[in-house]
């Protein structure tokens, strides 16, 4: 892939602009933290900002915005399994016999009552 120097010069400018944007977002992250939001909101905001930063790094620095199908396919698969790895163990530990969640949580057993005959 032999790109012409002018095009690459332009992309260097893009890289510098993205770098500056990332620094701004970092400042915002620290700034928001000083506001002391409620924990669930703080987590949401922090993760949203981090995801935006990460997407910029991936799309621009890692050239993901014009990559090939095999790469996209492998990464989508990875994201799905990453989500499974984050969600399912935590859901499994949250939903336990002593304190069930979901469709069994209203059952008599969940409230410590014997089954109806």
């Amino acid at each position: 892939m032999h790109s012409d120097p002018a095009a690459i010069q332009k992309s260097i400018r893009t890289y510098l602009m993205v770098g500056a944007t990332l620094l701004v977002f970092t400042a915002i992250t620290i700034g928001v933290n000083l506001i002391h939001l409620a924990v669930p909101l703080a987590i949401t905001v922090a993760l949203i900002i981090a995801t935006m930063k990460g997407s910029m790094v991936a799309a621009i620095f890692m050239h993901l915005n014009h990559e090939k199908k095999w790469i996209y396919g492998a990464l989508i698969l990875t994201v799905v399994f990453f989500a499974v790895l984050i969600l399912l163990p935590n859901l499994s530990v949250a939903d336990s016999i002593g304190k069930p969640i979901g469709f069994a949580s209203g059952s008599r057993a969940a409230h410590g009552e014997p089954a109806k005959r």
Binding site: M1, S3, P5, I8, Q9, S11, I12, Y15, L16, V18, G19, L22, L23, T26, T29, I30, N33, V39, A42, I43, A46, L47, I49, A50, K53, G54, V57, A58, F61, M62, K68, K69, W70, I71, A74, L75, L77, T78, V79, F81, F82, L85, I86, P89, N90, V93, A94
Partner: protein, 194 residues
Amino acid sequence: MEIPYTVEPRPDSGLANGKLGVWLFLASEVMLFGALFSTYILLRVGAIEWPHGELSVALGGINTVILIASSVTMVIAWAQLKMHNFSRGRLFLIITMVLATIFLVNKYFEYAEHFSKGEGPWHSTFFAIYFTLTGLHGLHIIGGIVVMAYLAGPGAGLWKRNPDQFTNRVEYTGLYWHFVDLVWIFLFPVLYLL
């Protein structure tokens, strides 16, 4: 006997071997750090109390800035090589290494401070996961520095024999490096701020 598509991309996939290889490796790294993030969530949700403000936001913030800067210099290094400016490309590669080393030095001071207060991994689950996550990340930084040192030093001979292959190697190292930056972008708020 030559292995095809080491430099020229294969027409139907549009990829050179190394590029697909590096991205697959990064996919496995996503799962590695993902397991540790899952661990963090599981342990924190199950904890009666979770420490807050134990880590130096200042040092963490400075390190974030340094790593982002090093990502910029890394991708510019590759861009320079694509424009056939070997000496500029090499210079930016070395600047990236320097920034990475400063990151590690900061980390050293951070760790030393905690150890001096008796806050090692054994101290609490928080410090256990903190040291594991940042320690593994730090090992990845060291790995990156080693590869960059090879490319800037003994490996640079490849530029004369096959400049395209050398440029590709820098690109792949860059992909790895940006991933290391990406992990830190999530590590910093999760560990230091939340």
